[in-house]
């Protein structure tokens, strides 16, 4: 093993569930981290980046492949790594000082020395004066500072950050990022390397030396970008913007030909496309926002302008693509004439347009065909759920149905009665559905 190599992830795959209800979270991941590196794992939600992080810390074990730390395979919790959690994971019944001291107590320091050391760390992250406060009395940013102090208390070699800033408001997140970078670049942290999971491109570029981009279905590494801009980095630098565009291109990809875009129906050969988790409202908002612009629109700008999180935005963009209301190319989104029409249409017209397009989606068409084939034109929700199970893990099957029913209801194609859990075919659409049975050309 080369010198300075801390972590080596060798061909790691993680499969959840068993038998015919399996779900591959990440597949064949290779990744190395050396001393002194700050690496960011970047990708849309559901790409398995948190799963990968949990395998690296030893919280879960890989199904295949091995995680090596300093050349030794990791079994159980990796004692040289520690983690800062997205949701802070502070114990609400313990004060700030007790939360930090508890990490030291776990390492066997039972004497009062642990409080002295905890005190120093609380000072380091700038929380002096708040030692006896309880987490619920602190703002999100301050809570995360406690999270950092606790993680640093055990002097980890590898500091793992699981979307540490995404539960914070914009200002606190910015401030905390700056403070962390000051400590890191000033070599004031005991950690030898940092691995951060993020879904925020700007955040990754402003902090990391290397960005590993992940894609989903199943989670895999798409590509890597080295960031050699000097610290502190600002968006105004030329290299920064260019990098944002390149990374967006890698994540959002480009619109595929239609057959591939909409996928195949459940139970038929080919990949069943997962319906993005977004709503008609969000779709309308997005299309209205970009409709005045006739050429491509920078996706990264939308995040701020619409005030949405990147993973929600990506889902809505996917929905627009899937329905043929927009196309995506290299970090740009372009509205189609159909999308334009939707953005400008009246409420009823929108329903009509949406229904026309949604009816072509294999998932919804498949549900309508099944309903059509049943004598009463209605079927229990469970039937669809069970049919989806071979292809999706249980939670996702449920979510997929929720999305399909939500879209179907808006389009007045299918209806759902929560009290008896029955999915019904909307009568007025029964005929059209039958006519539309043929797959789109």
């Amino acid at each position: 093993m080369e010198n300075g190599m801390l972590l080596h992830v060798d061909g790691v795959t993680k499969v959840f569930g068993r038998d015919d209800r399996q779900f591959t979270a990440v597949k064949e991941i290779h990744l190395s981290i050396r001393e002194g590196e700050f690496v960011a794992l970047l990708g849309p939600s559901g790409c398995g980046k948190s799963t990968l992080l949990r395998m690296i810390t030893g919280l879960i074990a890989p199904s295949q492949g091995t995680v090596y730390y300093r050349g030794k395979p990791v079994r159980g919790i990796n004692p040289y790594s520690t983690m800062v959690f997205q949701t802070f994971a502070l114990y609400p019944w313990l004060s700030v000082l007790d939360n930090v001291a508890l990490a030291l107590e776990a390492r066997g320091i039972v004497s009062d020395e642990r409080f002295e050391r905890a005190e120093k760390l609380v000072d380091l992250v700038g929380l002096d004066g708040f030692e006896s406060a309880y987490p619920r009395e602190l703002s999100g940013g301050m809570r995360q500072k406690v999270g950092f102090a606790r993680a640093l208390a055990v002097e980890p070699e590898l500091l793992c950050l699981d979307e540490p800033f995404s539960a914070l408001d914009v200002l606190s997140a910015e401030a905390l990022r700056g403070e962390l970078m000051e400590l890191w670049t000033g070599r004031l942290l005991p950690a030898k390397a940092i691995l951060m999971v993020s879904h925020n491109i700007e955040e990754a570029i402003s902090m990391a030396d290397r960005i590993v981009v992940m894609g989903k279905e199943p989670g895999h590494i798409v590509t890597e970008f080295a960031v050699d801009l000097p610290h502190p980095r600002t968006r105004k630098e030329a290299g920064f913007e260019a990098l944002i565009d390149r990374i967006y291109g890698a994540i959002a990809g480009r619109t595929e030909p239609e057959m591939k875009e909409v996928g195949t129906a459940p139970g038929t050969p080919g990949l069943t496309r997962i319906l993005p988790r977004s709503s008609v409202n969000a779709l309308a908002g997005l299309l209205e926002h970009i409709s005045p612009f006739h050429k491509g629109y920078d996706i990264y700008k939308l995040e701020d302008e619409l005030g949405v999180e990147m993973h929600d935005l990506v889902q809505t963009i996917e929905m627009a693509e899937m329905l043929g209301f927009a196309t995506v190319n290299a970090g740009d989104i372009q509205i189609t004439p159909l999308g334009q029409a939707f953005a400008e249409a009246s409420i009823l017209m929108r329903k009509e347009l949406f229904a026309q397009r949604a009816r072509r989606l294999p998932m919804i068409r498949w549900m309508m065909q099944m309903l059509n084939a049943s004598p009463e034109r209605h079927l229990p929700w469970k039937v669809f759920y069970t049919a989806l199970l071979p292809e999706f893990p249980d939670e996702m099957a449920e979510r997929q149905l929720d999305v399909a029913i939500d879209w179907g209801r808006y389009a007045e194609l299918i209806d759902y009665d929560d009290s008896d859990e029955m999915v019904t075919l909307e009568v007025s659409n029964g005929k059209t559905a039958a006519v539309n049975d043929r797959p789109p050309a």
């Binding site: 159980g76 994971a89 114990y91 508890l102 066997g108 039972v110």
Partner: protein, 576 residues
């Protein structure tokens, strides 16, 4: 925390009335009762009861004895809960058996065990000891299930990030228990302890006053004091006794439970501060008191440190969080399993043999008795519904009424129904059909409070905007009840009914067959059958009627309550 969250919730499985584990659990219970009945044959014919001194000066001593029994049973319950909860939450295989067992045991009418337990224990142990143990066992079985379920539930619902942090920071078992699991479970454990103590008093009183013909199983304690006072017609002693009982319950509430609840506020998980947290004057004065502070510094501090040093060993290796795949059962495991199965099989054959000796007519009696008791339970529950819904809504929606009525209701509810039973008999046995009325009244006393508290909780949880909306729509009278109030109350009423009908079945054991002032009076009923079979030494009948009651109650639970509960959970929830 709303009342509803505190109420014990049955783990629900879809559709299946009885799973295979349920059937096996029921069979095991049958074998255990059979063994008890077998042992009971050796029980002495005559058991000398205690002499109860009605002098008020003796009351503190009796009170101490009663509290001691409660405390012993409670400590036992808490310890059991923690181990059982751990076992069920840690291992998938154990969970498959432990949860149905818990589910059935919590719906079994516990008092139906009392005769078997008393008889079998007196057969093998010295009388004084046996009766004490029987009382503790009975209270234990009334207190333990909701505590266990609460602890198990807490273990299973600890937020994943707390568990992940505990793993990443390499907590030892002890640290995990002390700093994560116990704090997280504490709120539920304390609330359920309050409920368990309330229920425990009911069974303590029942155990303390139990007599059967020549066998006097009574125990020196508050219950026996009240019963003796009633049967001797000593009204002043009766009043002093009831006063003492209420006093003890109120004191325990003020000096133990309220401070504990106020102290446990900090274990609430919510990240926002509560507007009106539970407070306790006693806890506040403790916090100010120099003596208490000295005690915590000099005694608890060092004790805690020593315990930590002793138990907190940093583990060499910490496992990840994924459930460990169940390995193959070892040879020894199989051997034990086969032996246990053989034992149960043998017991079953014997039990069935005993049941076969029972004439057909006796089975007819059991059927008639079961129907009669079912009718009484239904009447009691209906009466309870009829008055608790209007009163509960009045208290729940009207702060001024609540201020006056709430404390009255709380004190009234704190009196265990069984303690009042001798008083009821005193007044009712002379009038025609008095025994029947007394039986229904006792059931009512034991059931109505659960219902009332749930209705109050439900009524006060009706969202204000819905109340405004129905005002705006001019919904009045029956229409308002039908569209807003009753649907909103439905889940709470069902939750209350589950507990209260269980209480009514329990009460039938002591209510249907009574001995008062040397005279036996009984009505037709399953409870009367169980007690009279015990008195008459008819062990086949005892086994058959006890089993019938258990199976009947469990079936009603599954068939009626659980279904209604699911409907309530699903359709009439106010919180989205």
């Amino acid at each position: 925390m709303t009342l509803r969250e505190r109420i014990f919730r049955a783990p629900s499985r879809d559709g299946v009335l009885f799973s295979s584990s349920d059937v096996i659990v029921l069979l095991i219970i049958a074998v255990v009762i059979y063994l008890g009945a077998q042992l009971a044959v050796g029980s002495p014919e005559v058991i000398q009861g205690p002499d109860i001194n009605l002098d008020p000066a003796a009351l503190p001593y009796y009170a101490l004895l009663s509290i001691g029994r409660m405390l012993a049973a409670y400590i036992l319950s808490l310890t059991f809960s923690i181990f059982y909860g751990y076992a069920a939450a840690r291992s998938k295989r154990a969970e498959r058996w432990l949860m149905p067992l818990l589910d059935i045991l919590q719906s079994v009418p516990i008092l139906s065990f009392l005769p078997v337990v008393l008889l079998s224990l007196t057969a093998i142990l010295p009388q004084g000891v046996a009766v004490e143990i029987a009382a503790v066992v009975l209270i234990f079985t009334s207190q333990v299930w909701n505590l266990t379920f609460s602890f198990y539930q807490s273990l299973r619902t600890i937020p994943i990030e707390y568990r992940e942090a505990a793993a990443v920071f390499r907590f030892s078992r002890w640290l995990r228990f002390k700093q994560v699991e116990l704090p997280f479970a504490s709120m539920g454990l304390i609330w359920n302890s309050v409920m368990s103590w309330a229920g425990g008093w009911f069974f303590l009183m029942a155990a303390e006053i139990f007599t059967l013909g020549e066998r006097d199983f009574r125990l020196p304690g508050l219950g026996a004091y009240l019963q003796t006072a009633a049967s001797q017609g000593d009204t002043s002693a009766l009043l002093i006794g009831i006063g003492a009982l209420i006093g003890i319950i109120v004191l325990l509430d003020q000096l133990v439970w309220q401070p504990l609840l106020a102290w446990a506020e900090r274990f609430k998980v919510s990240q926002v501060s509560d507007d009106n947290p539970t407070t306790s004057w006693f806890l506040n004065s403790l916090r100010r008191s120099g003596l208490a502070n000295w005690g915590s510094r000099r005694i608890f501090g060092p004790l805690n440190r020593r315990l930590n040093r002793w138990l907190n060993r940093p583990p060499a290796e910490v496992a990840g969080l994924e459930p460990v795949e169940n390995g193959k059962r070892s040879l020894l495991g199989w051997l034990v399993l086969i032996l246990v199965a053989l034992g149960i099989g043998y017991g079953l054959v014997q039990a069935v043999g005993l049941l076969m000796t029972l004439p057909l007519a006796a089975w007819g009696d059991i059927l008639v008795g079961a129907l009669a008791t079912l009718l009484r339970v239904t009447v009691a529950v209906c009466i309870a519904l009829a008055w608790t819904i209007p009163v509960g809504v009045l208290i729940g929606t009207n702060p001024r009424a609540a201020a006056v009525l709430q404390p009255v209701v709380q004190i009234a509810a704190s009196i265990p129904a069984t303690a009042l039973f001798p008083v009821l008999l005193l007044g009712l046995l002379t009038i025609p059909a008095g025994a029947n009325i007394a039986a229904v009244l006792l059931m009512l006393l034991g059931t109505q409070w659960y219902l009332l508290f749930n209705v109050i909780a439900g009524a006060s949880a009706i969202p204000q905007d819905l109340l405004y909306t129905s005002d705006l729509l001019h919904l009045k009278g029956w229409k308002r009840w039908r569209t807003l109030i009753l649907p909103a109350l439905f889940p709470y009423i069902i939750t209350g009914l589950i507990t209260s009908s269980g209480g009514a079945w329990n009460a039938s054991i002591v209510a249907e067959f009574t001995e008062f002032g040397g005279e036996i009076s009984h009505v037709t009923g399953l409870g009367a059958l169980i007690t009279s079979a015990t008195a008459g030494g008819d062990y086949a009948l005892l086994l058959a009627s006890t089993l019938t009651m258990i199976v009947l109650v469990v079936t009603i639970n599954r068939l009626v309550w659980r279904r209604l509960y699911r409907v309530a959970e699903y359709r009439y929830r106010m919180d989205q």
